[in-house]
Structure formats: C-alpha cells, structure tokens
C-alpha cells in the first residue's frame, strides 16, 4: 500500500542529508537493502513534516530590503530576497536569500518542490 505522500522537501536539509549519507553507506556495505533505505527516508519525510507542523513553535522574523523575484507555480512559492536581516540577529544580514515554500495544508508529494530558476 502507498504510504501517505509527503513532501520530500526536507531531505535536502542537514539532518536529511546526514540520514541519506548514512543509508547510502549502509547500502554500500550491504547491511540494508535499497528498499529498506527508501522506506527509512519515507518515514523521515513523514515524521519531519509532522514534527515541524506540531512541535516546532519558535518563530523567526526577518526583514529584507528588496524582493528580487517571486514565483508561484504548482502550489509552490519561491521568493528571492536581497539584504535580509533576521530579527534575532543570529547571523549577519544576508545578501541573497531564497525561500521555497510548499503548501502546508495538503499533503502532496512535491518532487518538483525545489524549483530551479
């Protein structure tokens, strides 16, 4: 049966990449099968989507000088901003910031989530 489709958007994050790397290493050493690795990634997708929706409570405010470009296609918003300052000033102001935002209401697989202009 098909697992519930979720965004694979978060695979390209630090933790997602780390997990992917580990699974690849295991597969190379024949410790686990490819199908199992895929299953693990799917579980990761599901859990991280759910956790970010429910458990992550902190907000981040930011202000940018200019919105260079925006796009909305396939229910995915992409923003490219310049000179972005974060309210908490954790990092230095960013010259360019790209935000890719997927629809949080419907769980739709977003293989095309990362839009490459």
């Amino acid at each position: 049966r098909d697992p519930k489709m979720t965004y694979q958007l978060y695979r390209n994050t630090t933790v997602g990449q780390a997990l992917q790397q580990t699974l690849n290493d295991f597969q190379a050493e024949d410790i686990i099968s490819r199908a199992l690795a895929e299953r693990v990634m799917a579980t990761f997708d599901k859990v991280i989507n759910k956790t970010l929706n429910t458990k992550a409570k902190n907000k981040m405010n930011f202000k940018a000088e200019k919105l260079r470009a925006y796009r909305f296609c396939d229910n995915v918003w992409t923003f490219v901003m310049e000179k972005v300052e974060f309210r908490e000033a954790i990092t230095a102001p960013k010259e360019r910031l790209k935000i890719v935002a997927c629809d949080g209401t419907n769980k739709v697989i977003a293989a095309t989530a990362a839009v490459n202009p």
Binding site: R68, Y70, R71, F72, C73
Partner: protein, 378 residues
C-alpha cells in the same frame, strides 16, 4: 468710445429684447441682453475662459432675451459671476440654457447641453460660476440681481477690479468661431488675465489604464510561470499567469490563448510600453509572440475640487444622471452622457472619473462637472 459702464451699454441698444448681435462677440457688456445681465460683465476676471462666455452670447432663441438676471443665453456663461438665478427666469430663456463655465482656454467653447440642467438652480442656490476663486464675485442680491452700477468700487466684497472695458477690436475676431482664447489676448486692464493653470481649477490626473493586446500565439502558461520572474500561476483559481514588472509598475494577466491584459499604468504611453515589455518577456521564453491589436480599454482619473459638495442637492437636480444611495455607497454615481463616462463624486470634493477611452474624455467630463459642482458647494 469706451464702454466702460454697463449703464451706457444698456442704453446702447440692448434694449430689452434683442441682444446686440452686431456687437459680434465683443465687449463684455454688449452681449448681455437686458440690463441686469450686465452682472456678467463684472466678472471678467476669469481669464480666457470668461471672456469667451461673452462671446457666446449670441442669442438665437426666438427672441430669447436674457431676462433680468439671466445672463445665460443658450451658450455657456463663462464668468466668475455668481448668478443668482431665480430658476424660472433662467429657464424661460433658453431651452438648453446650461451654465457651463468652461474654464481653460482650450475648453472655452464647449458648452454641452447634455450634462443636465446646470442652470436649474433653486432660488436659494447661489450659482457661482467663478472660475477664478480668488475673485469670487459674490454679487449678493437676490435672484436676478442686477448691477446697474458696475462700478467696481461699489460692488462690495468682490474684487471687481475689472473695469467694464470692452475688448479691443482685435479681440472680437478672436471670439469668432471657437478659438481658444489665449490669455495674452485679453487686455490686462480689462481682466486679470490668468492662464488656466493659474486659475484654481484643478485638472484630473490619470490613475489607472487598462489595456489589452493579442500576442497572437498559443502559450504554455506553466512554462511561462516556471521560467519567468515575478509570475504567479494557480490554474485551480484562475486560468492565467499574473506577471508584474517594476518599470512601468504594472501587472499583466497572460492567457493561454495569447491574449493579455495590462493594468496599473499611469498613462497610455506607459501602458503600451509595459505591454511591449511583457511581450518581450514571453518572446524571450521561446514563444513567437507578436504585438497586435493593442487597445486601451479603460482609463481612470481622479481630481479634487477642494470644496465640499452637497450630494443630495446634486442628486435631486440631476436625477436622470445621478445615483446616490448613501447607505450603499458614500459617493454619488454620475453617469455623464457625453462623454460617456461615470463620475464618482464624494462629499469631500474628490471626484473619480472612469470609463473613458481617451484622456480627453476625462478632461471634458471634469470640465463639464466642475461648474455643476460649484453650484452645489456646501
């Protein structure tokens, strides 16, 4: 022979019935049929516009005399004159007696009988067609007040610093036909010849232009949305790509048929330029786009007359054109017949004009509504 007082003029042949046609279009005093009508003379401070008013005083009614106090012949009265028209007096003379003080040199001759009976003022209302607010001739007096003595000094509050000098001979020629009167033509001692821009009549500014163009080729909207910047495409909600550019600041709706709507520009040229830019973007994405059938569909202008307006009164007088439902919408909706535009008139004095296809229509509409609004100044 300087006719510097209306009194003399009155004697000179404006006896009651026949307006002095022979005067042609000259002389502020001359045209005013009937004594009382000389009120008009005193207000030639409206500059070019006002003078023309005189010029238009060719009474071609069946002996339609500008009766007492009714200076308004069939033609427009340009004149910063506050004409207290006992309504009946006015209307008796002219079938189309409309007070249209056409201000501005260019619009001097335009008096349209279409825009409602501006002259149908109730007795109480003080029709102040003063183009030049600075010299508001509030002649006081009741309806049909006649200033037999047009001595500026005697006229009280108004700055009737304008002696009753007829226009110089050459001016007569100018008033023939429908030439706009350049302010230089008016002898300065006769009128404070102010160019229209110095007169306090505001002029409408364009706020929005909507235009359409056909790119002439089928388009793949998804491809456009994916590859172009600043594009939105949500086919579930709306079947077009919404694209924006910064210069000129506009928004375009691009449809798969190749047709496009461009909105938000502040002038016709800007709209055309923006549409061309969108067509260029589409072209760069690989579609063989053309630029055909560009047409401005709608123009919106706005203006501020800078005085409050009695909308209720305006609605009653111009009932056939006005819709005023304060519970529904705070503005009065005035549907002008010629030009065919819609004006939204607000109590504050702000006016929005929409439905025009050309800037001229907006300017015409405003120049027609302005005197009407002045009559309903609060």
């Amino acid at each position: 022979f300087r006719m510097n007082s209306p009194a003399s003029h009155l004697g000179s042949g404006l006896g009651g019935d026949t307006p002095s046609h022979h005067h042609g279009l000259g002389g502020p005093n001359s045209i005013l049929g009937g004594g009382p009508s000389s009120v008009l003379n005193s207000h030639l401070s409206g500059g070019p516009g006002s003078v023309m008013g005189m010029g238009l005083m060719s009474n071609h009614g069946p002996g339609s005399v500008l009766g007492p106090g009714s200076i308004l012949g069939p033609s427009s009265i340009l004149g910063p004159s506050s004409l207290n028209m006992g309504g009946s007096q006015m209307m008796s003379n002219s079938g189309s007696g409309l007070l249209h003080s056409q201000q501005g040199p260019s619009s001097v001759q335009q008096y349209s009988s279409g825009a409602g009976g501006a002259s149908e003022r109730g007795p109480a209302s003080n029709l102040n067609l003063n183009i030049n607010p600075g010299s508001v001739m509030n002649m006081g007096g009741g309806p049909g007040s006649v200033f037999h003595d047009l001595n500026p000094g005697s006229v009280g509050p108004s700055n009737l610093a304008v002696p009753m000098t007829p226009l110089a001979g050459d001016m007569l020629d100018r008033y023939h036909g429908t030439q706009a009167l350049s302010h230089s033509a008016i002898p300065t001692h006769a009128l404070p010849s102010t160019p229209a821009s110095a007169l306090d009549i505001p002029s409408p500014t364009l706020q929005n232009i909507v235009s359409t163009v056909n790119l002439g080729v089928q388009l793949d909207l998804k491809k456009i949305a994916l590859h172009a910047r600043n594009a939105e495409y949500n086919p579930k909600r709306f079947a077009a790509v919404i694209m924006r550019i910064r210069e000129p600041r506009t928004t375009a709706l691009i449809f798969s048929s190749g047709k496009m709507v461009c909105t938000g520009a502040k002038s016709e040229e800007a709209s055309r330029l923006a549409a061309r830019k969108y067509a260029r973007i589409v072209q760069k994405l690989g579609f063989p786009a053309k630029f055909t059938e560009f047409k401005v569909q709608n123009m919106v202008g706005s203006c501020d007359v800078r005085f409050p307006i009695q909308l209720e009164g305006l609605c009653i007088t111009h009932g056939q054109f006005s819709t005023y439902e304060p519970e529904l919408f705070p503005g009065l909706i005035y549907r002008m017949v010629k030009p065919r535009v819609v004006l939204l008139i607000f109590v504050s004095g702000k006016v929005v004009i929409t439905g025009a296809k050309f800037k001229k229509e907006i300017d015409d509409a405003f120049s027609q509504i302005y005197p009407i609004l002045k009559g309903f100044k609060k």
